[in-house]
Amino acid sequence: MRAYFLRRFLLIPPTLLGLTLVVFFITRFAPGGPLEQALMRAQQSSLEHSSSRASGQGTALSEDQIAQLKHYYGFDRPWYVAYVQWLGKVAQGDLGTSFRYNEPVWDLIRERFPISAFFGLTTLVLTYSVCIPLGILKAIRHRTWVDTGSSLLIFAGYAVPGYVLGALLLVFGAARMRWFPMGGFVSGNFADLTAGGKVTDLLHHAVLPLCCYLIGGFAFTTLLMKNQLMDVLAADYMRTAVAKGVSYRRAVIGHALRNAIIPLATDFGQNLTLFLTGSFLIENIFDIDGFGLLGYNSTLDRDYPVVMGVLLLSSLLLLVGNLISDALVALADPRIRFG
């Protein structure tokens, strides 16, 4: 078992290397990159310049200036050299400087990460604390009105993408009814509020996005819990337990639940990372300046150092999340042997 986890752990770096290499390669050869954007900007400003002064300047930038720009954006070296240099810096904990914000990438990420993590962890806690009991209830009361009624809601919830619900909530809950703020993580005057006011303000802003985060995983987890528990309830050892006089309650909690919860553990790691890195679609709708939106905007802006930094961190989280899932499965079910 230890050998398996060690091997999985050792496989993380090569996967990360492969991923970053592919994306780095693309950033070098995709048109419309930061260098071209800078050249275009320079050309435009020189056009305006020359038209106002009416003095003809041949080219926008001298060879020297272009070389300087190339050096600034790191395009003056072959891509593999630049990649190795990037790797060397990362090894020293330096993710580079954002082209757009002119700030260290690490600072940008560190600022936004807690915002996404706040939503992610809240979602995770709420999902598991409601879905597990609800799933158990639905399994025990299979095909009664409790089950059928909640199923309809759950299926509809399963079918709605979070950001689509977000659009609806934004228009009705925020813009029309003015029950909730239109977006953002906290109000502009957050720093001036009292401690109680801060909490209220935060929660007030968080309600609508949280609904969107909750809706997808909620249905999935409840159904998984229910189906697994129903499988286990049909198992022979459950029948034996009930037959020999163990109370139903104890049979479910003591015998069935532990086995039924294993597949939920498989998902836990993926859920954790999914939520930690945030959904850029939901952050986009509610204008929350989180990690997901940072990744999306950096891609739009071709802010390559940020793109690489976000990619590195989110893939690392994903791979670690998978590993955590496996560890949890092993904890929940000692029979499972990974090989």
Partner: protein
């Protein structure tokens, strides 16, 4: 021949019967099939061209037929006839001529500008804009309807692409095992972690993506999930005695794969189709919402959703898209659950 045998297979027959027995799923399937069928003949239901025109004793059927310039019906212009105006004029003249319009007399592209009316306009049965108009005066119902049709076409190609690639790679990994499997899994892991959106944005900045290109890009980043199931299923089937028997009899590798292993994994593959369909519709909607989907005038749910979030005074836009998405995706999910249950019925026990 293979399909005939498949149809006569008693197990398949039993599954079909079980599927029909699951009321919610079967009903959803019928509704979805009806919607798909309606969208095929969409021009008859939602169109700016008239179904029938009676003009000076002659009958015209412009729906699928040739383009009629306005001058054909005595209008003073040579561009395509505006059948809604023509109908009003003929009715006023009272000469016994008439125009029969489809139930929704607008197509998805025309801007219905009327003097003194500034789009978006709220739903109105009198104007026959049953769900209102969008920011440029296009009928929302028409755009939803044709957007649905395009999403279905997209989904059909997408499913074919994802299944083709996923089955081929997964089956190869499972069948050949060993180094192929190990290397394949690493590559699949890297591939599935690539930032899909990033590639889409770059491609969208290079060329305006059309339907084919969009299917290829989204498909290229969605087939990896299929390989895991296919790989395991192939491993399982390959270990069975009948494969060993076929090998001993001298069957070639391709014969074993195509005649023995693939038909036996078919039932597993079928259960994933509805979920792939739902994934196709949601990813197309998300891409259109972000503005990286189909080129601009194409009717699309994502584009409407984006308009809705940008025009907070026109709540009918968001509501119509929301209801459509929830309706279609719920139907697809119900069908998916029913198929899964029909193919793999759960034993369940109740105590007490």
């Amino acid at each position: 021949m293979a399909s005939l045998r498949f149809r006569l297979n008693p197990q398949t027959q039993r599954r079909l019967n079980r599927f029909r027995g699951i009321r919610r799923g079967y009903l959803s399937f019928l509704v979805l099939a009806a919607l798909a069928l309606l969208s095929v003949f969409g021009e008859v239901l939602v169109n700016s061209r008239a179904l029938v025109v009676r003009y000076q004793g002659r009958y015209y059927f412009p729906t699928y037929g040739a383009f009629h310039p306005g001058s054909d019906f005595g209008e003073g212009y040579s561009y395509e006839t505006n059948y809604r105006h023509l109908g009003q004029r003929l009715a006023k003249e009272g000469s016994g001529d008439w125009v029969l319009m489809p139930p929704v007399p607008f197509n998805a592209y025309e801007n219905d500008f009327r003097p003194g009316v500034y789009p978006p306009t709220a739903p109105s049965a009198a104007e026959r804009h049953y769900l209102g108009t969008d920011t440029t005066g296009r009928d929302i119902l028409a755009r939803l309807f044709y957007g649905f049709r395009i999403a279905l076409i997209f989904a059909a190609f997408y499913i074919g692409f994802v299944y083709g690639l996923g089955i081929a790679v997964g089956c190869a990994m499972g069948f050949f095992g060993g180094k192929v499997d190990l290397l394949g899994q690493r590559l699949v892991e890297i591939w599935s972690n690539l930032p899909f959106l990033y590639i889409v944005i770059i491609v969208a900045s290079l060329v305006r993506p059309d339907l084919t290109l969009l299917v290829i890009i989204t498909g290229l980043f969605s087939w990896t999930g299929m390989t895991y199931y296919m790989r395991t299923a192939t491993y399982r089937e390959k270990a069975r005695d009948y494969v060993a028997a076929a090998e001993v009899l001298g069957a070639s590798t391709s014969r074993i794969i195509f005649r023995h292993i693939l038909p036996n994994t078919l039932s597993m593959l079928v259960t994933f189709v509805p979920f792939t369909l739902a994934a196709a519709i949601s990813s197309l909607t998300a891409l259109d919402f972000l503005g990286f989907g189909l080129p601009v005038p194409t009717p699309s749910w994502g584009e409407l959703l984006h308009q809705g979030t940008a025009n907070l005074d026109a709540p009918w836009i968001v509501s119509s898209v929301f209801v459509s998405i929830v309706l279609v995706l719920s139907l697809v999910t119900f069908v998916g659950e029913a198929i899964r249950e029909a193919f793999d019925p759960k034993r369940f026990t109740t105590y007490e």
